[in-house]
Amino acid sequence: MRRLLYLLPVAVFGILALFFLRGLTLNPREIPSVLINRPVPVMNLAPLPGRGDTGLTTADLKGRVSLVNIYGSWCIACVQEHPYLVKIKQTGIVPIHGIDWRDDPVEGAKWLKKHGDPYDRVGVDPAPGRTAIDFGVTGAPETFIVDKDSIIRYKHIGPVTPEAWEQTLLPIIKELNK
């Protein structure tokens, strides 16, 4: 009996090690969004001043696979991802729509003039940002892949990096375009 007690540490460690082995194949950062595979929320967002489009509505997302990118002129990480979004726009693979989230529309428009404008349509979602809440946005930037039937298929948290685009987003878009 006493002997068994001495085996306890190695037994506990053995169980821990099995969990670690399993843990190496899991990704704790993957946060499932409750809105995946649900239709995009109903929205009717006003346009940015001076941009020339008519804003962003639910109907605009029908018919084509598209990206919806949440940004704001106050958002620092958006500056980081923005040049890459402009590049994606130039490839013409997928239309990108922007939601200027919790922002002053004038500032949001100025910011696009300064950093480049990769968007087809832009809608303004002023504070407190009801539409973004309906999307399940937790912070900016976030990017959603919406399919032809305007159903949300994927949510990317944080800046869209070249790696994330090539390894994750682009394959999903190609799959949806089939």
Partner: protein
């Protein structure tokens, strides 16, 4: 060229470590003195080779040699020199190299200072130390080469994460690693003792100072990290129970338990197998921390870039080192002779209680840290475990521990009389109750949480308990005053160490309680000229200006702060935007007073002409840092005790006129 020399030196070090891991061990079992003695020159050679390698990487950073990939990814020419050097260990590969360097230095120190160690124990311990080195050298050479070249070299590097560009954090990793790796000494000696089948007072006398030194470094390292989080992250908090913080806290708890149980081994020849187990566990938890931070199994705000191949490797290392040690323990520990017996109510008894509570505490932290992994692996969904769990489970465990801390040192070895010890603590108890009532009345019964009174009472209890013990030792008021003074002067350093460290914990508890219970904060959009009052301090936002730093742009807010109508301070928090890599940081402005920190953070412009400002009053925060400083000081004082002094005769010579306390 220099980078290649560094790489080559690492490969040579691996060869040397392999020799050191095998030959002295075989020599010790065969009684071959020459083979055993080989552990000396090999450990010296390792210091040299690993030192060359570390110097080579440092050279690449200092000269901004961007043809080395590691430098290109983590450094930048604009970076101040301090952070170029700190950049060496501000990344996965370099920090591993630092780990190995410290490991080699500790091995060299055994050779240098361990002349009067029994040769068998010494050569076996050094062989075990070399095995750890082999594991880490293989890890760095096979998966994480810091000297990999980049062709063509970029014009400039990507820079170090700006959050890490901070003097506090520059020295945080080396101190932490000195602690982690320091526990490898206790580990190596524990394994050597298991192989020999003997643990005695001489073993404990050797292990204690090394464990104490590691503990001092680890305490410093954790405190520095915590201090950094407090002033840099701008949330006004200092501990978040983040997995990486926990990874450093668990070895600390196990190491603290080890320090105390090793005392029992040395003085009373008891608790041997438990002490061995703690020595393995303390280092095992250090390794586990390394695994958690670098494998990606747990999400944390400050994990290294992760790579599954590395994770598999460290897991393998963990299984061999810790699984193997526990297995050896299961086989050999039952044969260890149990020494002195003691009654539950004795100093040994209270030290054992402290050990059990510390170990349980470490266990709960481990459970909370790994719970998200367990849940995910068992398909119970993604969960996160936050401060509420730890505060609810860990802190209650520490209450009986602190209560016992005042009593334990007043008890005698072997068998003691609890009533006698408690009767000496009457004043401490009375004042602790008074402190609780005073706190309760002061916070009006409802202003603060109920536990604040308990926390303050514990702090008073412990502090006065420590003073009571000191007074007992010098027979204050019971012997003539002059005699007490001369006793005070002759107290051994280790006694002073304990007194200072325990008193430091009391000060820390007071600071922790106050800063958690009575923190006041106000978050708002504040316009220029607007005044917000927090805890009696009136913050007027005078202006917000753009300022240029060496590698960042910042908007700097200027607050004029007054208290009771009198000017108190001008505070200038910043919001910085670093250029490489592009990342924002907040630089809080903090004015420290004895009673609390006045803390201001400026955020983004809110769009309506105002700025998001966070203003805090954090009571007694400086007490926490002071308390931690006392703990570190106590450890250092204790290290200078002549009985610990390396190279001193194994039996301390007592001065002829000294009286045994």
């Amino acid at each position: 060229m220099i980078a290649e020399i560094g790489h080559f030196a690492l490969i040579l070090a691996l060869a040397v470590a392999l020799v050191q891991a095998v030959v002295p061990l075989v020599g010790a079992s065969r009684g071959n003195a020459a083979w055993m003695a080989l552990s000396g020159p090999t450990s010296a050679a390792q210091v040299l080779l690993v030192g060359i390698s570390f110097a080579a990487l440092t050279h690449a950073y200092v000269t901004s040699d961007f043809s080395v990939m590691n430098v290109a990814q983590n450094s930048h020419t604009d970076k101040p020199m301090l952070y170029k050097v700190a950049g060496v260990w501000g990344n996965h590969e370099g920090s591993l190299l630092l780990w190995i360097t410290i490991l080699a230095v500790f091995g060299g120190a055994v050779t240098l200072f361990g002349r009067n160690l029994p040769p068998g124990l010494k050569s076996r311990a050094l062989a075990v130390q070399a095995m750890i080195t082999v594991g880490f050298l293989l890890f760095i050479l096979l998966t994480s080469n810091p000297f990999a070249r980049l062709e063509p070299p970029p014009l400039n590097g990507q820079g170090l994460n700006p959050l890490l560009q901070d003097p506090g954090l520059a020295f945080h990793p080396p101190l932490l690693y000195l602690g982690y790796v320091g526990f490898s000494m206790a580990f190596s000696f524990a394994i050597a003792a298991l192989i020999e089948g003997r643990v005695d007072a001489a073993w404990a006398r050797w292990v204690r100072p090394w464990t104490l030194a590691a503990w001092v470094f680890l305490t410093c390292g954790i405190a520095l990290g915590s201090w950094w989080a407090y002033y840099e992250l701008g949330w006004g908090g200092w501990w978040y129970w983040d997995p990486v913080e926990n990874a450093s806290f668990m070895p600390w708890l196990a190491g603290t338990a080890l320090l105390h149980s090793a005392v029992v081994v040395e003085k009373r020849d008891a608790l041997k197998s438990w002490t061995i187990l703690l020595a393995i566990t303390a280092f095992g938890l250090s390794l586990l921390g390394t695994f958690l931070v670098r494998s990606g199994v747990i999400t944390s705000v400050h994990a290294f870039a992760t790579d599954p191949a590395r994770g598999v490797f460290i897991l393998g290392l963990l299984v061999v080192a810790i699984g193997g040690s526990f297995l050896l323990y299961a086989v050999r520990a039952p044969a260890l002779k149990t020494g002195g017996l003691f009654a539950p109510l004795s100093r040994e008894g209270t030290l054992l209680l402290n050990n059990v509570l510390m170990a349980t505490g470490a266990g709960t932290v481990l459970l909370g840290t790994l719970y998200p992994l367990f849940a995910d692996a068992l398909n119970l969904g993604k969960v996160s475990v936050g401060p509420p769990f730890f505060n609810a489970v860990f802190l209650p465990l520490m209450v009986p521990m602190v209560l016992a801390m005042a009593v334990g040192p007043l008890m005698s070895w072997k068998r003691s009389d609890l009533a006698g010890a408690l009767s000496r603590l009457k004043i401490a108890a009375a004042l602790a109750v008074a402190a609780a009532i005073a706190t309760w009345v002061w916070q009006g019964g409802s202003l603060g949480p109920w536990w604040a009174a308990g926390g303050m009472a514990l702090a008073v209890w412990l502090f006065l308990g420590v003073l009571t013990e000191l007074a007992e030792r010098i027979r204050l008021f019971r012997a003539p005053f002059g005699q007490s003074l001369s006793r005070l002067a002759k107290l051994p350093r280790s006694a002073w160490g304990m007194t200072i460290t325990h008193a430091g914990l009391a000060v820390f508890i007071a600071g922790m309680t106050a800063s958690s219970a009575w923190k006041q904060e106000s978050v708002q959009s504040q316009k220029i000229g607007e005044t917000i009052t927090v805890a009696g301090y009136a913050f007027t936002l005078k202006d917000v200006q753009n300022v240029q730093g060496p590698n960042y742009l910042a908007s700097r807010g200027t607050f004029e702060v007054s208290k009771d109508g009198k000017p108190f301070a001008v505070m200038q928090p910043q919001k910085r935007q670093y250029k490489s890599p592009p990342m924002p940081t907040t630089e809080a402005a903090i004015e420290t007073t004895f009673l609390g920190d006045v803390y201001a953070v400026i955020g983004d412009s809110g769009g309506d002409g105002g700025y998001v400002t966070r203003l805090y009053f954090n009571p007694l925060v400086v007490w926490m840092w002071a308390g931690t400083g006392m703990m570190v000081l106590g450890g250092l004082v204790s290290l200078t005790d002549r009985r610990h002094r390396v190279g001193a005769p194994t039996r301390a010579r007592l001065p002829a006129h000294s009286v045994r306390a």
